[in-house]
């Protein structure tokens, strides 16, 4: 840890403030059962004006709250537990499952990366948008390793999560996909934890399938993206 740019008391205050804010929003979300009241989104919406008003620049905020960022790694490891719980359900068809997810991830990664490069011409944004279907801790870690912009990843992950979780099931019904396994795996792959939470509220089977899909697809993405990005980069 380095605290070069900031003093410890300010760092402590900013960290505690972030914690308190996050906790109160997630309390409100639980109490009133409002899925859209996402604590990460709304904490960010409150913190940004606070930093602007008080003239705190982003590097100092980031240094001050590095303790929170450091928790990303253990949080990722903790995802091994739901993976363990769901392992028995995917044993029977793990090969097909991995093949379908890997193919889907490759195709969509190529499309997101290419579209972003064509429309916006910025590699770090293209990397961030290619990682939008991954669960947030892994998405942020992967973006930072590939020198993408992790704040764009966090934002993109949230949009992918809410749009797919809310409209995805309706869309799948429309294209005549009705089995729990197809809906669960599809929404889990596209909309990760947010999808999984929303599906679990109505149908536990779909929720279980989506939680397998989100972890497997995050692992596959971690394996695939370091191969695909260097292949695509020279094209633009």
């Amino acid at each position: 840890m380095s605290f070069d740019n900031i003093n410890l008391i300010d760092a402590l205050i900013l960290t505690l403030m972030t914690l308190a804010l996050y906790q109160s929003i997630s309390w409100a979300q639980q109490k009133w059962q409002l899925i859209w009241l996402n604590p990460m989104l709304f904490s960010t919406i409150v913190i940004i004006p606070y930093l602007l008003v008080n003239n705190i620049d982003y590097p100092s905020y980031r240094d001050s709250t590095q303790v929170l960022n450091a928790l990303l790694e253990p949080a990722t490891v903790a995802l091994g537990f739901p993976l363990y719980q769901q392992l028995q359900h995917i044993k029977r068809y793990w090969k097909e499952l991995i093949a379908i997810l890997a193919l889907g991830i490759c195709i969509v990664m190529i499309i997101s990366f290419s579209l972003t490069m064509l429309l916006i011409h910025q590699t770090e944004i293209a990397i961030a948008l290619s990682l939008k279907s991954v669960t947030t801790p892994i998405g942020i870690t992967l973006t930072e390793r590939l020198q993408g912009d992790s704040s764009i990843t966090a934002f993109a992950i949230m949009i992918a999560g809410f749009s797919g979780a809310i409209l995805g099931p309706i869309w799948l019904k429309f294209i005549n996909i009705r089995s729990d396994i197809a809906i669960g795996l599809a929404i889990g792959t596209g909309s990760h934890v947010i999808g999984s939470i929303i599906l679990s509220k109505n149908n536990l089977n779909q929720g279980a399938y989506s939680s397998v899909a989100l972890i497997i697809s995050a692992l596959l993405t971690a394996l695939i993206i370091p191969i695909i990005v260097p292949l695509l980069l020279p094209l633009f």
Partner: protein
């Protein structure tokens, strides 16, 4: 309280081993090696799943807090969003729905005959 310490130690062991693996063979991020290792050790019974369950689920439920420092980085991108906001949102929406449709269609076609209902769902 004992179980909380047990869970923290289990996760730390996996993370440290993940770091070592990463420094030797590279490839995946250390935390992903840790995640796979944690899953394997639970499966092998080296760690007791009943003991980690509660603390682990608490941790996953609250992990959103770790994403805030990264998310606040949007503060540096107001200009980007003014210029390219619509394209960014459009790219995200289009590719998300391509992915969902692709996986949904293939799973419906190839996996529905093989599957049985998944049982217990843990909330996270």
């Amino acid at each position: 309280m004992k179980n909380i310490i047990y869970t923290i130690i289990a996760i730390s062991i996996c993370l440290i081993s993940g770091r070592m693996l990463y420094s030797v063979i590279g490839g995946l991020p250390a935390s992903l090696y840790g995640m796979v290792l944690y899953c394997i050790l639970l499966q092998l019974g080296w760690f007791n799943p009943d003991k980690v369950q509660q603390a682990n689920q608490w941790g996953i439920k609250h992990m959103g807090i770790c994403f805030i420092p990264a998310a606040v980085g949007i503060i540096n991108h107001f200009e980007l969003f003014q210029k390219h906001g619509y394209s960014i949102v459009a790219i995200i929406l289009v590719t998300t729905f391509i992915l969902i449709s692709f996986v949904g269609i293939l799973v419906e076609k190839y996996l529905t005959t093989k599957s049985k209902p998944a049982a217990d769902v843990k909330d996270y």
